[in-house]
Symmetry: C2
Subunit: 345 residues, 2 copies
């Protein structure tokens, strides 16, 4: 069974996914009877193209990585912009991976709304739309019969949303706590090893882990957006990013880290969600945690989420020192979910 | 939609599940359109009964817990034994929760084989059948169109088998390591707090955590059976318990625990599986691990499994200080899976 794919945004994550798709095409066909054809790519600075018969995805990766324009691809038509791609690509599945906007979640929400309204399936790794417009987009998907998947928005391809949806049926999520931002964890554990804030941040940027605007990581925005996304999906919180009590790690010094170590502790940027009254309270802030705790054990880019449930007690999921490939896997995981849902495969 | 349930074995786990089923009956009907009727219970020392129209599950729990015979239940017929229950109960789903046998996995395998051969669905929390006969039972289920679920065999209701099957599609499991036995972890962490081996073991028995024969925990058999079950299901290992290099914690003294602490370490009973040559090597043994590691962070009855994959890197799942209710949840989780699979719900 063929699925026609369109990409809106073609940065680190999308290109890493493109490489996986090229390498695993045969496996997907053998194990899931799934064949993929890319019919459109929209980018901010490398042009946008559509191709009725499918374009060469690896050639597109190569063009973008050497700074060229996608319009150089053979058998492709230039497209005006992202929305034109949604409307003209005849795609079945749209991958939305444009950069995070912390104020409105745009233009990703507009892209996703347009695709879902046309009855297309949407896969995103952008947490903005889940933080700002989850219930609207979910309802839109249900109304038009499309799938809307977003596993990669929190902890990359580590199963979180799928875990609760598919593996914790019958339970109710009472709250959660997590270390959700890789860049700040890399900085804090770097400082524990005596490395400066700046050098650790540079490493995160080199590895393609940091947000396009690294202030979003350092000031806790990325973690806050993930916290809201988790609360909206797992706890029906109808929360918004402005409602998170948020502080980042900008003011944490090596001295603070050293002082924590004296008492067997480390500093982690911790997100917390708890039911309070008839709402959900959301907090992101640096916390002192024991070195001998799950959060204390997280080195490098590692993340962890502790989920409190009624029937299943407390379980935690850890992602051990991920790179951009693990976010790319989220897109594959979601693609297989979409394929299974629409083909009952 | 109604499902008719039969219980073979009605110990701590099954009775805890019965309580959940009674408490959550309305929720299951509302959220999953699932109504359950219990048509048979077979026990080792409280008799066995069938009931065409359904028996009162909570009344059965109360009878067993005060040491009475199930034949006292109204509108029930006595059954000869477990196999008679399978054959005469007209059940849709059989719950196999008899005690673990480390030498052969019997009589659980016989019960499950009989049920699957009749086209019934089987849910088990007994790791013996998965360790000794997984591929046979899986093939039998597929041949006769039955579902065969066993989430509770490892780490209770914490999603492990479902996690890999449902949430890690497209990846290959390369190996795993885990702290899988609650009783030994309770003993070891008890000893870290200065409590004797015997007192901690007694606590595990009081909480219904320890195996019926606690030697199975202490000598590493339980962990070995789980390791084999994981390897068979996640890595197609076709392994058997005798193939595990196994040592338990019987010879660990408070002195060993104290010596470990001096260097910032703790002792944990660790299971490991790795591909080696054309097979899978399986080891269960006490290991010195850093207090500041995931395994080192596990207190009380907590368990953890680290799964190494090709595409998704390394993820870990932790079950935080579970009790028997969390094993019971595994049965509910599997029941909902069976219901979804057969009713496409």
């Amino acid at each position: 069974m063929d699925l026609r794919l369109a990409f809106i945004g073609f940065g680190n994550v999308a290109r890493s996914f493109a490489r996986i798709l090229a390498a695993r095409g045969n496996q997907l066909n053998e194990e899931h009877r799934l064949r993929c054809i890319t019919t459109a790519i929209a980018t901010g600075s490398h042009g946008s193209v559509t191709s009725k018969d499918g374009l060469d995805l690896l050639a597109a990766v190569a063009l973008v990585e050497r700074g060229s324009q996608l319009t150089e691809l053979p058998r492709c038509q230039p497209a005006a912009d992202s929305l034109a791609v949604v409307n003209e690509s005849r795609a079945d599945v749209v991958f939305e991976t444009t950069p995070l906007d912390i104020n409105s979640g745009e233009p990703a929400i507009t892209h996703i709304r347009a695709a879902l309204t046309r009855g297309l399936h949407v896969i995103t790794a952008n947490k903005g739309p889940i933080a700002f417009a989850y219930s609207e987009l979910k309802a839109l998907a249900e109304h038009h019969g499309g799938q809307f998947r977003f596993e990669g928005t929190v902890m990359d391809g580590t199963p979180i949303f799928n875990l609760v949806e598919l593996c914790l049926a019958g339970t109710r999520v009472l709250g959660f706590s997590g270390v959700l931002n890789s860049t700040t964890n890399l900085i804090l554990t770097g400082m524990e090893g005596g490395q400066s804030f700046e050098k650790s941040l540079a490493e995160a940027q080199r590895r393609g882990i940091a947000e396009a605007n690294a202030d979003y990581d350092v000031d806790g925005w990325d973690a806050a957006m993930k916290t809201v996304a988790l609360a909206n999906v797992l706890m029906n919180a109808e929360a918004r990013p402005a409602g998170v009590e948020r502080s980042g790690i900008r003011d944490i010094s090596i001295k603070d880290v050293e002082a924590a170590a004296v008492s067997g502790n480390v500093i982690r940027l911790v997100a917390r969600a708890d039911r309070s009254g008839n709402g959900v309270s959301l907090v992101v802030r640096p916390e002192l945690v024991s070195r001998a705790s799950v959060f204390g054990s997280l080195g490098g880019t590692s993340n962890a989420l502790v989920i409190k449930t009624d029937l299943m007690g407390e379980i935690a999921v850890i992602e051990n020192d991920p790179g951009v490939e693990q976010t790319a896997y989220a897109l594959l995981s979601d693609l297989i979910s979409v394929h299974k849902a629409i083909h009952h495969a």
